[in-house]
């Protein structure tokens, strides 16, 4: 099993947000996490990535058999965990090229590999840019600075393509995207789907799942996964909303 989350409780500033999450993700699978606003979807993503502002109070996360809580944010990333941000940060002065070269080489160093030669890096970048239909000048700009919402999300998928994670968590990547950008982002993800990696797609709407077809759909509600099913669950949620889930829980 790639990822095993067992009875995970976590929160921020003493306020509990995740109240016993259980989830298993295996390689080759795409899981969608859905649910109303404020139920802990982004918290779950942050906790897996290791954001220090959140505190895990009980339960555990095993990733490739390792207890993730012992690893720092960057170690988790180097082990193959990628988080596509809902709100990517603007970093003035750091070019995407420089950023990606640093990231790629730090990950290689962790794995005991030599830095990627400049020529090969450029080649890799050109190739991955095509995957998300990025024009060449975007990568010379500072990370996310002055990017439109669509450009920011495309840039997230581009970074994912560069780093080739084992487990990619996409936190509401579809929010704020028009239909063309959504299609480009989804195509990028589909091209990267392989038997040896997995995706955790967090979304509020079913729309994205028309393009990225999940193997499993889970509903997160009040800090717990309360319902799981196949892709048809997403369609049912789109038709009926979340009220019936709330009523079932009550």
């Amino acid at each position: 099993m790639l990822l095993q989350i067992k009875n995970l409780h976590a929160g921020i500033n003493g306020k509990e947000i995740l109240r016993g999450v259980d989830l298993e993700v295996d390689k080759g699978e795409v899981h969608a996490i859905m649910g109303p606003n404020g139920t802990g979807k982004s918290t779950l993503a942050s906790v897996i990535a290791g954001r220090e502002t959140f505190e895990v109070t009980s339960g555990e996360i095993l990733y490739q058999g390792k207890n993730l809580q012992k690893l720092s944010v960057e170690e988790r990333a180097r082990e193959g965990i990628f988080l596509g941000f809902q709100y990517p940060v603007e970093i003035p002065g750091v070019s995407i090229t420089n950023f990606m070269r640093t990231a790629v080489n730090e990950i290689r160093k962790y794995k005991g590999l030599d830095p990627l030669p400049g020529g090969e890096f450029i080649k890799l970048m050109e190739e991955r840019k095509k995957l998300v239909e990025i024009t060449s000048n975007l990568t010379n700009r500072s990370v996310n600075e002055g990017f439109s919402g669509g450009e920011k999300k495309k840039n997230e998928i581009f970074q994912m393509a560069m780093l080739e994670p084992v487990l990619a968590i996409l936190d509401e990547t579809d929010s704020g995207l028009d239909i063309d950008a959504l299609r480009i982002v989804a195509n990028g993800v589909n091209k990267l789907r392989r038997a040896d990696n997995a995706f955790l797609v967090i979304t509020h709407y079913q729309r994205l799942l028309e393009y990225i077809v999940p193997d499993f759909v889970h509903v997160l509600f009040e800090g717990k996964i309360v319902k799981s099913g196949g892709k048809e669950l997403a369609i049912e949620l789109e038709d009926r909303g979340y009220d019936w889930i709330k009523q079932e829980q009550a």
């Binding site: 990535a49 954001r51 220090e52 720092s72 944010v73 960057e74 990333a77 180097r78 990628f82 988080l83 941000f85 990517p88 940060v89 970093i91 003035p92 002065g93 750091v94 420089n98 950023f99 990606m100 640093t102 990231a103 730090e106 990950i107 962790y110 500072s142 990370v143 970074q159 780093l163």
Partner: protein
């Protein structure tokens, strides 16, 4: 100081023309009236000179024997072709060539020598930009200064190479030096000037340096000040800029190391349509202090001034930014911008930032802003989530912050060099090595000036 001057008046004034001697006497009177600055004065509120001044210093009112510093010129220039003018402990290093006269009328060399050789030219400019009656330390400099560097670019002439003015402090005892530089660009002239202040050993020093800069009509000056001194150094640098009609100035203040650095930047638009960019970057740690005082006088209409000063302060470092833009009554269509941004890496680092606009007409575009904060935690998390280690991520963010200033350096070789130095500085590598601050890799290298000047 007063006694020192009175006892040595004859020696100090020995190369002065009557006119220059009069300027000196006026400055002496002004200094006596003003006295040394103290923290009761607004512009000195955050910088206290007392402790620094109480250290004992050697004063050298005549040039030191030249044999001692022939080594200064043992530098080769593989990448950047510049004309080098050297100063050691405030005295021009002549090497038997006190003045260089290039065929196109460019004059460069010792100010002491220039007073004898070109008295009319010197008298035309000397003391005309610097105002002794409002600045005690400038008055003190005018009182004592004998030598320094004189650069003259005649009208219509473009200096074929950048000029590097290198002031090295290297003296076996604590030293107090007061040199004076005079830079004159005629109308339509052009010059790139890299002005370095470096110390070469760990001895304490107090430098009170005044530079007057005249940029003629439609002339262009690309000016760099690179300050890299030891932790027991105090550098008070006053630069008085006079910009003629449609003159253009780019000035870059890069303070990388030093016990106390105070930049007193005073810019006067002396004609309409002038344009000035003033950039500053300061990276300080330990108990270092940096104090940037920037005064821009929009005395004529339709001039543009842009100030961007950025600093990273670590440990117990202290910084001051005092920006003052004065827009006079008739200076319509003035465009003046002031920005000061700081990152404080610790709870004990401090900055006092005061951007200030004083405007006496309505037809202007002015803005000012000051921000002070820590490194952006969200950005740190973002970088780390991509596998970049925390230290590297911090470095990347700090460098990106500094790079807004570094990238403005127009000379590519210099930009590359400063980029390297800023990176080294942020990684704490520059400070391990103060004997040869710029280039060496071990702290106990022999005292030889083998710095690759071209890449400073």
């Amino acid at each position: 100081m007063v006694d020192l001057f009175e006892a040595n008046r004859q020696l100090v004034s020995s190369s002065d023309t009557a006119c220059l001697a009069e300027i000196r006497d006026h400055a002496f009177a002004a200094f006596q009236k003003l006295g040394l600055p103290d923290t009761k004065q607004e512009s000195w509120r955050h910088t206290d000179l007392r402790e620094t001044l109480e250290r004992g210093y050697d004063y050298h009112l005549s040039p030191l024997p030249e044999e001692d510093f022939q080594k200064v010129f043992r530098c080769n220039i593989p990448h950047l072709d510049t004309t080098i003018i050297g100063q050691l402990n405030g005295w021009h290093v002549s090497q038997d060539v006190p003045m260089m006269e290039l065929g196109n009328g460019i004059i460069m060399g010792s100010l002491l020598e220039a007073k004898k050789k070109y008295p009319a030219l010197i008298e035309r400019y000397y003391g005309k930009a610097a105002n002794d009656s409002i600045d005690a330390l400038t008055a003190l400099n005018t009182t004592f200064a004998r030598d320094g560097v004189f650069i003259y670019i005649p009208s219509g002439i473009k200096s074929p190479k950048p000029v590097q003015l290198i002031n090295v402090i290297s003296h076996p005892e604590n030293i107090f030096l007061q040199s004076r530089n005079l830079i004159v660009l005629g109308d339509h002239a052009s010059l790139s000037l890299v002005h370095c202040d470096d110390s070469y050993n760990h001895q304490a020093s107090f430098s009170n340096i005044v530079t007057e800069v005249f940029v003629g009509e439609n002339a262009f000056l690309d000016h760099y000040k690179l300050q890299n001194l030891n932790n027991d150094s105090a550098l008070i640098s006053a630069v008085w800029f006079h910009l003629g009609k449609s003159a253009h100035l780019n000035s870059h203040y890069l303070s990388l190391n030093g016990g106390l650095i105070r930049n007193n930047i005073r810019l006067l638009f002396n004609g309409p349509h002038g344009n000035a960019f003033l950039y500053g970057l300061y990276l300080m740690d330990r108990n270092q202090q940096v104090d940037n005082q920037v005064f821009v006088d929009h005395a004529f209409p339709e001039c543009t001034s842009t100030e961007v000063f950025k600093g990273i302060l670590d440990e117990s470092a202290r910084g001051v930014f005092n920006g003052h833009v004065l827009v006079r009554k008739n200076s319509i269509k003035t465009d003046a911008r002031q920005t000061n941004k700081n990152i404080l890496l610790t709870d004990t680092a401090r900055i006092n930032s005061k951007p200030f606009l004083e405007i006496y007409n309505d037809d202007v575009k002015c803005s000012h802003g000051s921000t002070t904060g820590q490194l952006d935690n969200e950005a740190l998390f973002y970088l780390r989530q991509r596998g970049i280690g925390e230290e590297s991520a911090r470095m990347l963010l700090m460098f990106a912050f500094a790079d807004e200033i570094v990238e403005k350096i127009a000379i590519p070789q210099l930009r590359q060099r400063i980029e390297d130095m800023v990176k080294k500085r942020l990684q704490g590598e520059l400070q391990i090595c103060e004997q040869c601050i710029l280039h060496c890799s071990t702290p106990d290298q022999p005292l030889e000036f083998t710095i690759d000047m071209s890449r400073i």
